[in-house]
Every structure is written in C-alpha cells, then in structure tokens.
Symmetry: C2
Subunit: 228 residues, 2 copies
C-alpha cells in the first residue's frame, strides 16, 4: 500500500528523471491514484507537499504542472529575541543603550517610506543570554504612526515588545545578510570591529504603513536553521 | 462588510491588547462570524493566515489558541543558483574549481552522518553573474549513496544540477550564518580575506540518507528577503 511519502518519492523520481520535464502538466489526482493503486486523498497530500515546496505548481481549472524552475521554499522561524534566548534554556536580559530622536539615514528613510527631513525615534539595545552578548539592535520608529513612546517605555522592555503590545502589526519583511561589526555593535557584542555578524533587517507594518525598521546583529556562529 | 483582512486585523488587535492573552482559547469560527457579522469562510481564511504566521495555534477537537510565544514564521525562497542569477536578468556561468576525493572535516562528517574514515567527494565551484563573482561553494557528496560521479559530470553543470537530475531528493535542511571569507573563497569572490560573507549550508536527503552537504558563500550586500 502506498503512503503519501511513497507517492511523493515516486512523483519526485519522475520529475528528476525528466519523465515529467519542467513546465509539463502531470496526470490528474484520479489518474495518479488509479496508476499507483492508492486513495485520491493520499495523492492529494503528496501533491500538496510538493506544491508547498515549489516543485509543483497547481492552477485551478488548468491542473498541476512541474514548476519551470525548481525554487525550493523553506519556512524560517523568526522568534522574538526573548523566545530565542529562553528556548536555549538561558536567562534573558535586555538593556537599553540609547534613546534618541533624529533624522533617518537614507536606508532607514527608504524602509519607513518617510522623507529624510522627518524626525524618527532611534533605539539602540543589547540582549544577553546568561550574561553573554546574544544580539544587539538599532530600531527606527515612526512616532507619527504610534502612540506616544518615551525612554521609560523601553527601559524594561524591548521596542519590539512595546510595539507588539501597543500596535496591531499586520505583516513584516525580513532581509538577511552578513555585515562587518562596527562601533557600538562590536562593543555590545564584545567582538573585534570587522567581525562577520549575521544581520537581520525587519520592517513591521501596521496595515499599509511601515512603523518600525530594526537591524539586529548576531555574533559569529549564530545560525538560522530550517528544514523542508 | 468584513473582509478576511479586516477580520485578521481585528483578531490581531485583541491579541495585542491582551483581551486574548497568550495561551487563551479564542471563540469558535461560528461565534466570531456571528460577532463580526461575516461569513464563516471569511473568519476561517483570517485564522488560517494567523496560524500560518505562528500567531495562533489550531488543534483538532481543542480549538484555536493564541500562541504562547509569538514566533513569527516566514517563507524563504531558496532558488537554485542558476535561477537566482537568471532572475537578476544576468548571464549565468559556472566554473568547476576543484574535484577531489578526501576524508571529511568533522563538520562535514556530522552533516552527512558518516565516519571520519570514509572517503567523500569534495567539489569546489564558482558562479558568476554577467562575469562578476556571485557565489562560490564547497560541496561534499557521499559516493556510496549516489550513481557514479566523475569530474566530467560536473565540468559543465553544478553538483546541485547533477544531483537533482540523478537522485530523488526528498528534503533539505538549511542553515544561514555569517562567516569571514578565507583562502579559496576570498579568491573566488575577489574580496579581501576576512570579509563578512553570507553563508548558506544546505544538506540534501534522499529519503533517510543525507547525500550532500554544501556550503555556499555570498559576497557582501547579498540579501535573502522574505515577507510575511
């Protein structure tokens, strides 16, 4: 009897062997179920998995095609930093380093879709796990789109925590890159300037407005891991 | 009339305001549809989106809870390098740099679940986009689990392309980190040693066996981008 995993392996094998080349319509679920001698639900489960991975493309009324380019998709967990640290079984601590009002850098202005002349809040902070530097961040916030935010608000909790409890965030955008640690960042992470740091840029939206733009820096060996 | 987006915003607002605290069971779809004056399918769509983002947890027979920790999930496209380059509208080129048989590093041995004494294939290669260095890679392959693979096989196509056309890969594991460019890597990418390079480690499985372990290095400013 065929499981959905064996149906998936069978379909993958036909794609990889070019029996079903890129762009080709594959047989219907009924036809596959009949050929493979299994339930249609089993075939459906296997095809759904392959579509989620970007290997197949399913179109209503057209059918299921082999994707023209096999772009694998993977799901990445982007936990809040508190969760990240607590999941390691370590003690979480947050420290506010700087709270200022200033004009954005061109990069921050573009991320938050504001003119360079508009004043924004800039918060620098550091996170430790069992007392060791875990991450540091610079967060730009657009005060025009937020409830009043003072230094006291982010002395005990992070900007992200303040944000999630005061604003209905609807979606986010992540960008992952490698950068060389500079100034404050190297100091907070206790690493030499120029060390490679994994950098996560995160823009949070409330409906159609970007309200915050954060850059988070992680010391060497920090990994983002995902399986598909 | 409520759209699924407005239902999602409403639910998010209740979670963010702690009207529904972390871990709390929220009303059923029927109850929400009645309260909000919309179709149950609309509520279902909104809750599904929030569950996909990790904000809600849905359990059969139990109901829908606010996730205890809001771990946002995001979907990352991990295209083949050829696709990545062609999507930029640039000319793809691949160059084999080294093809050797050798004992694995401890790291590669662990990734491929083989003893340090087992000989593996190691392939170094470089990719360019319009003639500019785009990425370089080191790929370890377990020849015991693969059809015969010679130097000629990977002179015109990458190890990944050879692999996808000869083996039914079932799943993968990605790890993303920042590293300092060393030796060959710095040379291939034409950057000074020590430059921060975005590093993607990718293990590919054929059923229960890891068959390949690749480390790919990208020059500064390369970004992985995702939206949720």
């Amino acid at each position: 009897m065929n499981t959905w995993q064996s149906v998936r392996a069978d379909v993958l094998e036909r794609i990889r062997s070019r029996e079903w080349p890129p762009g080709e319509l594959i047989p219907t679920e009924q036809e596959l179920a009949a050929t493979l001698g299994c339930a249609r639900a089993t075939v459906n489960r296997a095809l759904r998995e392959l579509a989620d991975s970007g290997i197949l493309e399913r179109r209503r009324k057209v059918g299921t095609r082999v994707a023209a380019t096999v772009a694998r998709r993977t799901v990445l967990d982007m936990p809040a930093i508190r969760t990240e640290i607590e999941n390691m079984g370590a003690a979480y601590s947050y420290e506010l380093a700087r709270f200022t009002t200033r004009h954005p850098t061109p990069f921050a202005a573009r991320a938050l879709q504001v003119p360079l002349s508009q004043e924004l809040l800039l918060i620098h902070a550091k996170y430790t796990a069992d007392g060791q530097p875990h991450c540091c961040e610079a967060v730009w916030l657009n005060p025009d789109l937020l409830p009043p935010l003072t230094r006291e608000d982010v002395e005990q909790q992070s900007a992200h925590e303040w944000l999630t409890s005061h604003v209905a965030l609807t979606h986010g955008r992540f960008s992952i890159l490698a950068a060389a640690a500079k100034g404050d960042c190297a100091f907070h992470l206790n690493i030499p300037e120029g060390t490679a740091v994994l950098t996560i840029e995160r823009t949070n939206w409330a409906d159609t407005h970007p309200v915050s733009f954060a850059r988070q820096f992680y010391p060497p060996q920090h990994r983002l891991v995902s399986e598909d």
